[in-house]
């Protein structure tokens, strides 16, 4: 615990200026960032004016790192921690348990920028070959075959991906791994992977990928649905495991996620990809906030620990109503209930907070 190392610098800090308020700082995933910064935080702060929440959308990878380094009150990621990561983190945190608190689910849209092409169908084989760099032009025979009557331009395909470690990348590459042997052996699934495409482009955050695709004719990329909606980007229609053509939408994501098996610790190691549901969209992910069960690992006071608990409780109860407004899938009542039980189990110096 280095909490008091900076005591000597307090004189520089003019500390205590706004000390009546408790500040929670969190960092991580950009996938749910619009939901957090535009919906959760303003509404939560209206209901709890004495708590301020700052969320920095730096990507899931950075969120996990900062959670591990104990420099944030909560991390956020849409790639669940692996067993090895958890073991590592616990070793550095007095063996405190690491909790995955789910907040929402959402589909990952495959966005593209082709002037004049309003509807684009991609099946698993073509999608993975585009990102493998085996299909490099938009007027490729295999794309035209899926899109009869669509006038595909003779443009090079620029495959946009994330330049930072990303849960969205994890969800997308998990899908490609599930549908393509080639992808599985050559690239695999992860928060940042070795992108093989001939003309790759890296953007920071979901927003960065959306901006790249938005600005670049011939680009294709993947972002959470909300970013496609906000930027007016067109999303490809994908063929799911049942063989149906499905657009990314709140409804098709709900289809894909209803009735999924969520394990006791609320982690979904493989995310929700390649659903068997006939009307389900094949690339959907869950997103989590990460907290230590023993709050004294990150919280400087019991008040701060309580504020974390209040915030998480609010998200899992009243906050869930915001999910649909923001075009995210809300948690099933069962998952929300189990998550709430986890939040209620938070302790501070061994004492239960509630």
């Amino acid at each position: 615990m280095n909490k008091h190392v900076l005591a000597a610098t307090a004189l520089l800090g003019l500390a205590g200026f706004a000390s009546a308020q408790i500040t929670l700082s969190g960092a991580g995933a950009t996938f749910p960032a619009p939901l957090y910064t535009e919906y959760y935080i303003p509404n939560f702060q209206r209901a709890n004016p004495n708590i301020r929440v700052s969320y920095q959308a730096v990507g899931s990878g950075a969120g996990i790192r900062q959670f591990t380094d104990k420099v944030v009150a909560f991390g956020a990621s849409d790639a669940p921690l692996t067993d090895a990561q958890i073991a590592d983190i616990r070793r550095g945190a007095n063996n405190s348990e690491v909790l995955h608190i789910p907040t929402a689910l959402g589909p990952v849209s495959v966005i593209y920028n082709l002037p004049g092409v309003n509807e684009l169908r991609l099946d698993p084989a073509v999608l993975s070959d585009i990102f493998l760099g085996r299909i490099i032009r938009w007027n490729d025979r295999r794309i035209s075959a899926l899109n009869p009557g669509v006038n595909l331009p003779n443009l090079l395909i620029s495959a946009a991906h994330r330049s930072d470690g990303s849960g969205t990348t994890f969800i997308f590459t998990s899908y490609l791994t599930a549908i393509s042997e080639q992808w599985k052996s050559r690239v695999g699934a992860g928060q940042s992977v070795n992108w093989p495409a001939f003309s790759g482009l890296g953007g920071r955050g979901n927003a960065g990928v959306a901006a790249l695709v938005n600005q670049t004719p011939g680009a294709i990329g993947y972002v959470e649905l909300k970013y496609a909606i906000e930027n007016d980007l067109k999303s490809a229609t994908l063929r799911n495991a049942a063989g149906n053509w499905i657009r990314p939408s709140l409804a098709s994501a709900v289809e894909a996620t209803s009735g999924i098996d969520v394990p006791a610790d609320l982690r979904l190691p493989g995310q929700v990809v390649n659903t068997r549901d006939p009307q389900g969209y094949p690339i959907v992910g869950m997103t989590w906030m990460l907290v230590y069960r023993e709050q004294s690992v990150t919280a400087r006071s019991i008040e701060q620990a309580r504020a974390v608990q209040t915030f998480l409780r609010w998200i899992l109860t009243e906050g869930q109503a915001q999910n649909e407004r923001a075009s995210y899938v809300r948690l099933s009542p069962d998952v929300a209930r189990r998550a709430l039980a986890l939040v209620d189990s938070l302790t501070f110096n061994g004492q239960p907070l509630r």
Binding site: L6, T9, A18, R52, Q56, K70, G205, G208
Partner: protein, 291 residues
């Protein structure tokens, strides 16, 4: 110059292709003018982009409000302005102290055995990317304190400023005549009093210039911020907490989907440009006025 030009025009070369050579002379002048225009052009274009986009995006809330959701109006960048000023002022204190000390050693103790090393190291520090300065502060300060902080940001910025201030200080101190020092010493003042009360005040204008230049350079640094001050959404006077800076906000907002955020990035660029302009104009003014 005019004299020598007359010479060149009146002297007739023996080889007789004066026409060709004089044409070549004009062509080269044309190329030089063109080249100079090519240098000035991007400056004009960049400044025009910043002023046009920035002015239309500047508003009162930009200066009076901190971060808010886009759906709530988007707020302003008060938190970043406050953070930039606080970190840079603290950095100026630290970097100023280090830079002054370095300048004093090089100029006032010219025979000190440490000097050659110090000079090389200072030039090296000046040339090292700010990114690496951020990395070292991260590994030393942030991981030790377990927190991103404005203090860490200020330390990284201090490393950016130090060599600039050091170089400027050494330069102006050397301009102070040795007679000033000898007069002080002859009065029986100890050496440290001579330096602090006679030499430094005599060079105050030049030192101020150095401080301004250091400030202008550091205020625009975004690269080290990602690993040190990290950013925050609130006005924050506690330097032990994560702190926002204008330069880092520009980096973050540049590819935000919301047009409002991009406008704020332009407005932040304008404010930062003005800050840099004022600091460097002030440095020029001080130099011209007092030297």
């Amino acid at each position: 110059m005019t004299q020598t030009q007359t010479v060149s025009q009146t002297s007739i070369p023996r080889d007789g292709n004066l026409g060709r050579r004089s044409l070549w002379n004009k062509v080269m002048l044309g190329l030089l003018v063109l080249g100079s225009a090519v240098v000035v052009l991007p400056l004009v274009v960049v400044l025009a982009s910043v002023f046009i986009n920035g002015l239309s995006a500047l508003s009162l809330p930009f200066f009076t409000r901190s971060f808010e959701a886009v759906s709530e109006g988007g707020g302003g960048l008060l938190h970043a302005i406050v953070g930039t000023l606080m970190m840079n002022v603290l950095a100026l204190l630290i970097g100023g102290l280090l830079g002054l000390a370095g300048g004093i050693l090089l100029s006032e103790y010219p025979d000190h055995p440490l000097n050659p090393t110090l000079r090389v190291i200072s030039d090296l520090l000046n040339g090292l990317p700010a990114l690496l300065k951020g990395l070292v502060i991260y590994t030393v300060v942030v991981t030790a304190t377990g927190q991103f902080s404005g203090l860490a940001g200020a330390l990284a910025l201090a490393l950016v400023m130090t060599p600039i201030i050091l170089r400027a200080t050494e330069g102006v101190l050397k301009l102070v005549p040795w007679s000033v020092r000898e007069a002080g010493l002859a009065l029986g003042l100890p050496r440290w009093r001579v330096i602090l009360s006679l030499v430094l005040p005599a060079a105050a204008a030049g030192i101020t210039t150095g401080l301004m230049l250091g400030f202008a350079r550091a205020a625009g640094e975004a690269a080290p911020m990602a690993f040190t001050a990290f950013g925050s959404n609130f006005v924050n006077f506690d330097m032990t907490k994560p702190t926002e800076s204008l330069a880092y906000v520009i980096f973050k907002y540049a590819n935000e989907p919301s047009p409002l955020r991009q406008e704020q990035a332009w407005a932040a660029s304008l404010v930062l440009t003005l800050l840099v302009l004022v600091a460097s104009l002030l440095a020029r003014y001080v130099t011209r006025r007092y030297q």
